[in-house]
Symmetry: C2
Subunit: 727 residues, 2 copies
């Protein structure tokens, strides 16, 4: 094996005023690039050192002076006012009540009667436009002739007067009276013209910059803040398009598509366009329309960068909305690199899986911020950033065993590390581990079992490897995906539309459908489509494997709740057929193939309850509180597995791994390049003839690694340790 290089592939956040620290850590961590961060600058001493310079730019909040002069061109979104119950025949609604008034300002500029809607939320019906009026002086809407005791809300447009990410950074880092940056909407031709000229000036002013890092393009993921006294975060969705809305965009959309979006298309009963909901056809068209706009205008910006002899990277987080890196169009933007901030394996796979010739870089956590995303202490008393870094890395590393990225790096304010020497050491170890893994991948892909699994959701490929944000623990698919991200199987993502259009791809062995009824993850209304039932049933009857988790195929329709109950052999009692007395589950006596490595009782965290077997032919492997937890069934030539929930744990990951092999009827092929100890993972790289073994637990572990011939190798690993074995 070639000596692993001990430098490079690492981006360090520099900080003016801490030049020595910056250069010292750049050396220690083997950085080859130094970046600035939101709120920091790089001094000449740093810029002149021998590193690639990597500068962040955010066009939509780049020049607050222009924004102040063009407040009618700020970005907007629809909000649903907090509901008001009528106690007479007239009510007045304070539109921004309950919202963070430093983030939002009511848009009284575009005609409310054209763009807003008032709803009676008791009946769900729109209220007549001639029965309400907006008062510009008080930012209230008065509704007359209301029905007493009904609930009313107003869908209204609000400008955002504080750009969300900047607002978060400002408040988290206590920037005090620093100016609030405002987001400009590039949908306006004047704004586009300004942004391109601003970008050109910026390029001219940054001759040493090699990498221009967009933070990011134009529209942030949705993040509505509430009255901070009691509810700062009201609505947050990493994947949704609420913040792309404006009357101009809606007008352009209507010209392009032949129909108008309404405020309610975005407000959706106050659920907004959350990724958790099954997207409507209208919403998908809106997303497609805005995506095209972002790609086209983004391309103009990137062209300027390339003409300046620099490269363009995109931050696959803030303001990523509209770029859709998993789309066909994305390549047309011309990006040279993608940076994704990650906590775990599936987020690493999200970045690694983007197709195209781009450099992929992971931004590790914790950020060099005083507090973490949930407000917990990090670089401040009570925090343990080294422990956090090791824990996050151990998770991320599982994903990197399977698919590589090109670089890693940090973000934030470097001076914060000064009191945390343990963190400085940990990052040095992580950078070395990363370079080792990268080198393993360099000579070809690792061993992957000949088993292809597809995750079926209402989003499909468009939301590969990610859902609505970080840390949605308890959401079945989130947990399943994290388990899958580190397993040596092929993973793909399909939607119900894919199945309708082109059928189930021939090379898929197992389909997983996981989630709660009605969600985009389980599929909701799609399961009422008889064509879906036909195609899925036929595919399973022909030998396909189906794994249902939680409420797979669930929707209240006809005589079954799980629309694929006939293949799963189980259904859920939701209280309407309590008198249809259920089979007493007969637990299979022997330890089944899929349970072989389970050490303790089944623990899915939280189970969907009241699951019953349809028939004695269903094999029930586990029950809790009279409800089935694990059931197997056969339908035609196909095999199905039902799991009543899923929590990402080493044991459950193994259960899922084995379930896939059982569902694919390939039990005999299970084994090569797996570990005996479920808390360890391994990957074999035929190119280098090396096997990497990692310990994801914070305790020392012993494990056996099995090769293709069933021979085993004993390995001992430190807490969170890694070993490379020459095979």
């Amino acid at each position: 094996m070639t000596k692993i290089k001990d430098k490079g592939d690492f981006t360090l956040p520099g900080e003016a005023g801490y030049e020595d620290l910056t250069l010292e850590l750049a050396e220690k961590w083997g950085a080859d690039a130094i970046r600035d961060s939101d709120g920091t600058v790089l001094s000449d001493k740093i810029i002149s050192a021998d590193y690639d310079i990597y500068s962040t730019i955010c066009l939509v909040r780049g020049d607050n002076e222009w924004a102040r002069a063009n407040t009618d061109k700020l970005q907007q979104n629809y909000l649903m006012s907090d509901p008001v119950i009528a106690d007479g025949d007239k009510i007045t609604i304070d539109l921004l009540s309950g919202f963070f008034r430093e983030q939002f300002k009511v848009n009284g500029h575009d005609d409310p009667k054209t763009w807003w809607q008032v709803f009676d939320r008791t009946t769900g019906e729109q209220f007549p436009k001639d029965q309400w009026d907006f008062d510009r002086t008080t930012n209230t809407v008065t509704i007359t002739n209301v029905k007493k005791w009904h609930k009313y809300t107003v869908n209204f447009l609000a400008y955002r007067i504080w750009e969300a990410i900047s607002m978060y950074n400002h408040i988290t880092n206590e920037w005090g009276d620093r100016e609030h940056l405002m987001p400009v909407d590039p949908i306006y031709p004047e704004a586009q013209k300004f942004m391109l000229s601003y970008l050109q000036k910026w390029l001219d002013a940054h001759p040493k910059t090699k990498i221009v890092r967009f933070t990011s393009m134009f529209y942030n993921f949705a993040w509505f803040w509430g009255d901070p006294a009691h509810q700062r975060f009201r609505y947050a969705d990493w994947g949704s398009y609420e913040m792309t809305v404006s009357p101009l965009a809606m007008t352009l959309f209507a010209k392009a598509k032949g129909y108008r979006m309404t405020s309610e298309d975005f407000v959706n009963n106050g659920a907004y366009c959350s990724s958790h909901n099954v997207p409507s056809g209208r919403l998908l068209e809106w997303m497609d329309f805005m995506h095209s706009f972002v790609v086209n205008f983004g391309r103009q910006c990137i062209d300027l960068i390339h003409r300046a002899g620099k490269v363009a990277y995109m931050f696959y987080d803030d303001h990523w909305v509209g770029t859709e890196p998993y789309s066909e169009q994305f390549k047309n933007m011309g990006f040279d690199g993608l940076i994704k901030c990650v906590f775990n394996a599936f987020e690493a796979r999200l970045c690694a899986g983007v197709q195209g010739p781009v450099i992929k870089e992971l931004r590790l956590h914790p950020y060099l911020f005083p507090t973490g995303l949930k407000g917990e202490p990090t670089f401040q008393p009570g925090g343990d950033p080294a422990r956090d870094a090791r824990k996050f890395w151990a998770n991320i590393r599982r994903g990197l065993l399977r698919e590589p990225v090109d670089r890693i790096g940090l973000g934030g304010y470097l001076h914060l590390v000064q009191n945390f020497p343990d963190f400085v050491e940990t990052i040095e170890e992580i950078t070395q581990e990363f370079r080792t893994l990268k080198q393993c991948h360099a000579l070809g892909v690792p061993y992957t079992a000949p088993l292809k699994v597809a995750l079926l959701t209402a989003w499909g490929k468009q939301r590969s490897w990610v859902y609505a944000g970080h840390f949605i623990h308890g959401m079945e698919l989130y947990e399943v995906t994290e388990a899958l991200a580190g397993l040596p199987v092929n993973v793909t993502f399909i939607s119900f539309q894919d199945i309708l259009k082109t059928g189930i791809p021939e090379n898929i062995d197992v389909i997983i459908n996981a989630g709660k009824a009605g969600t985009a993850w389980s599929g909701g209304e799609h399961w009422k489509n008889e064509k879906i039932i036909e195609k899925m049933t036929e595919w399973i009857a022909g030998g396909g494997g189906y794994i249902g988790v939680g409420e797979p195929s669930a929707v209240q329709h006809s005589s079954q709740y799980f629309q694929l109950a006939h293949v799963l052999g189980v259904d859920r009692e939701i209280g309407l057929t309590l008198n249809n007395i259920k089979l007493t589950g007969i637990i299979s006596g022997n330890k089944h193939f899929i349970l072989k490595d389970m050490e303790k009782n089944i623990d899915f965290g939280k189970d969907i309850d009241n699951i019953f077997a349809l028939d004695k032919s269903t094999t029930v492997l586990s029950q809790t509180n009279g409800s089935v937890q694990i059931a197997l069934n056969r339908f035609g030539k196909g095999h199905t597995v039902y799991l009543s929930g899923f929590k990402f744990t080493p044991e459950n990951t193994r259960l899922l791994h084995r379930s896939m092999f059982w569902a694919a009827d390939r039990q005999k092929n299970f084994g090569p390049w797996t570990c005996s100890n479920v808390r360890t993972d391994c990957a074999f790289y035929p190119g280098t003839k090396q096997c990497v073994v990692v310990n994801s637990s914070d305790k020392a572990e012993k494990t056996q690694v099995f090769d293709e011939n069933g021979h085993s190798i004993d390995v001992e690993l430190k807490p969170h340790g890694i070993k490379i074995i020459d095979v």
Copy 2:
């Protein structure tokens, strides 16, 4: 206080062949009446002793010879065949597959094309009548031109060839090759004529009988049995009307109401007409129609009995369907007595609460059968009938503190008690306790707090004090009702129809709505009715108390899941608005009035999960797994309490008791005639100036009883003990 009589008010099951035992126990237990049971006869020696004779008769299974000669007049019901998935364009369904073929026989007599329906249960649509055919020789239906992979079922009529209760008794008591009795349907005029003549002959043949006990009238509650090898009980509902169906009744109904019922009105996607489901308007009309028939023909039978100088009692269990003792029409039947078999307090209240001049008698459990209702050993090795009797009695007694009945008794086969002397002693104690309680009630009603609570369901008064059967533990309303049955408050039952028609009665202080979304108990679709929301909201705003348990007012509609979320201050996250970030619950610091007597953590058995507070004004008293368990709110002048579940325990009963006082804003009035120890209950009878204190636990308990002036009396009680205090 008058000396409590030590005889009377007790009905003993006698048994021929055990004359000495019968008369010995009649003396010991103070019986004044001796009865026969299904399968037993009373010998002359018993009949000639000085006891009232009490004979059971069941007209619909009275004469099997007539039934055999008139098999086209057996009772029928619709069944939904087990679903079959089409794997080609033609399928054949074996109609009775999965059903107990000794209970059912396909009715090929009435034209299947007129009375049956075939459904595609994948789409939920009826399949064309010309695409299927019934084969009388094989009892199968062949369906052609089916869609491959769709699910098909047939709604068909089946005769019942073994009467359900007789079948249960036969199998439970191992009657071997004794003839299977068949149920005749009195809807046929010929059957009515025969039954009246049969009854007259029977009356003539039973000169010593004083009390004619119908077991019961004509139609049993629904009880469909499955292939007994793996699923004996498929569907059982104590309150539903499936077994009243026949082509003739449907034809008469169509003439009376102007429209035809369909098979699917009864089959209802295989959920049948379960009491758990919100009844359709059509179903309610069917019930009303059959009720009128039962009342009218029943009256003819009772008239014969009265003319014979005897009295008529009805068993408020088997074959009670159609009698509806809580209806206005019931009095017209002319019954002299009602007998209800009971396990617990609310079933005792069900019997006690029937209006009219009838004698009310409780049939205690355990029955003198080898096994109990769930197949557990009773009068056989492994059983402990004395323990069971004490436990059931302690529960029943709570109900009898509040409302009296006239008599108690036993059923079954007396010889079984011979090996259980402890049981014999226990029954003697129970009979004495019963007579004591009856005497307390004799001089007037016990103290009841000036607080009236209404249980709001889709059934209302029609299903007062009872739901779909015994032992539906975990069903929130079942548990709540059992708690209420022993509390010194006024309880009533209202329906959504009542609210629409006449509004909320003025004297109601608190409304309780408890159950799972979509059920008749919670209310399901009724909560989409804006009039209901208006009336409930107005009533609460005006000062009404509302207690919601589980999923009160829940239905997926508009922007809220709990349609009364605005008054409750909480709603449930069902996975569609996960990104609407919820308030972190702020637990109220002090021990609130409603929690004062809680000794341990809240334990509702099973909580409805993902409950969040809408607003900081909601007072959260308890949370589990990040979900609200108990929340209080104020709306206008009204007070609301939310409980995420309910299990009948002494502590939870007290919590409910206090919650009602808080919801009614009468905290200050809580106290008179309550006990300090939640495992004890008391009732004060002003007429006798006595206070009865009971211990519902199986351990000795000390308690303090508080009188109207807040003075307390110390009381010590044996396990399951009772004390009478002269005040």
